[in-house]
Symmetry: C2
Subunit: 349 residues, 2 copies
Amino acid sequence: MSTSIAALGEQALIDRLRRRIGPPPVHVELGIGDDAAVLAAEPGTVSVVTTDAIVEGVHFRRDWTAPDAIGHKALAVNLSDLAAMGAAPRASLLSLALPVDFPLADFDALVDGFATLAAASGAPLVGGNLTRSPGPVVVDVTAIGAARRRRVLRRSTARAGQELYVTGTIGAAAAGLALLASGHVRDAMNPAALAAVARYERPEPRCRLGWTVGRSGGATAAMDLSDGLAAAARSLADASGIGVVLDADTLPIDEAANAWAVGAGQDPVLFALAGGEDYELAFAVARKQRSRFRAAVSRGRPVPVTLVGRFVADRGAWLSRNGTLSPLPAGFSHFGVRPLEAENCGKGL
Amino acid sequence: MSTSIAALGEQALIDRLRRRIGPPPVHVELGIGDDAAVLAAEPGTVSVVTTDAIVEGVHFRRDWTAPDAIGHKALAVNLSDLAAMGAAPRASLLSLALPVDFPLADFDALVDGFATLAAASGAPLVGGNLTRSPGPVVVDVTAIGAARRRRVLRRSTARAGQELYVTGTIGAAAAGLALLASGHVRDAMNPAALAAVARYERPEPRCRLGWTVGRSGGATAAMDLSDGLAAAARSLADASGIGVVLDADTLPIDEAANAWAVGAGQDPVLFALAGGEDYELAFAVARKQRSRFRAAVSRGRPVPVTLVGRFVADRGAWLSRNGTLSPLPAGFSHFGVRPLEAENCGKGL
């Protein structure tokens, strides 16, 4: 029988967590251990703050996903929001609600998954909360970033005539989730399928790219793909009071997403457009920003970026395919009646 | 049958919440509706950040506590942490995990309870997250404050010879919880008992006092009483590498706490010392700070403050009673085996 967290007092668990995350960097004036954390000011910047929770049975299942991946993902989805604002990560807070029989080894692994990404991304864990849960595991994370005031990438500042770019590939996380939900075992998956599962479980937020593009002035608006590209494109257009046309022929559809959709008798384009949790970034780029955008994208470790559409004056969201325009499929609603496992869930305010 | 939140889409719920909280103040450059919120910098200050969750069945029961009180309390416990740092509230984030059958009227009331305190305390809701929960209601809040760098009130900076002050009265919330847990109905309670229940359900964080004392330089260390005075005094002493002696005869024990303890055959002093969730503040005050401390305390709406002990060089925590020193009772451990309802739960990192 494995040891559960109930074997330790709460203070012992916190001490254990502290030892695992190590000392914070210098801009953290006060980390874990007081009533609150204290962060030094970064002159000339504004604070960018976001929070996002993942819930057992809604966003993950413990029998599918390793605990370190849960810790990783809980932070990653928040870092993706900072990246979408063009902000550099500065700190993170972790609030855990855990059943008393939660295995201690899983606690360690969850903390390690979180801490590894936190350290790598410049968002050290500076505080949080630990409580029992009579129900599912809830991992709630707040991430704090910094950006120059005039370089913040909002949703509402896209303009008609601008181009829409997306990073990486789309549909991968949805394919990974579909593979897990339909009972596929990892041992029998091909490399593309395994990569899709990894994208679902352990998304790599585009921290550096978002921040680099923001700082360079290479885009006018941005958003991450937590609810899929269709939803992101529509949100950018709606918030900006304009419309958007996506080009079906240029979409960077993930290989496993394409294979899954074909196998399931679905349209790969619609599957990839509607698939959430990719945590790629969508940027609105003006013609005169194009060179700065391209330069920012190729700085450091280059990230593939694809031109997938353009913003138009007429409000609405369309898909261009073989020369025909059709309305974009709507996104998901998380309080609706769809089965939990087939849904991407949770929405930022 | 009442309408549940499932009747609305998630976006409709967020829009509804937005309408209820109104427009943010000017230092919120970007509030709800983007990937993250943006807060203007306040020159010369550091950011103070804290997070705390309350969980149905652990911190509250829906059949005992009105939903607006749940919203209020979730924010209050975080504002109390900011107050204990000497920080002025600046913004708040609200992450809600709700069962799909959660009544829409309760959603409105919870948001209103949160928003009313947020507006009154200068911590406007700037962002958050909404997700379904297959289990209990989880309300996770992050609060962000600002303080001048040298005026932050840590735990670790109390010194031997300093006095320990506490605001308000102690034991009230524990008495309120005990009254509810033992099945007392409100209609049959006397005013002191009702007040104790209100302290448990709707704590009033000492925001202004904490900030005023911090800014005035009237204390060297502070902590809030989320886990009770005994635990706070011990934590201040431990973090500062010193000891503390509490004076049993001077403790400002709440009237209902005293009555409850006597009626239950318990020692009122120990009951009040161990009772958590009062969210009063404990301050370590040096002799030369005393006049500044007193001036800060009496500024604005005066708050009763009581000298309850002193810090000593020898490590440890004692209770002085009738001229005899005895060890302070230990605090609670939230992952232990005590029944949920009789326990104060959750611990900040």
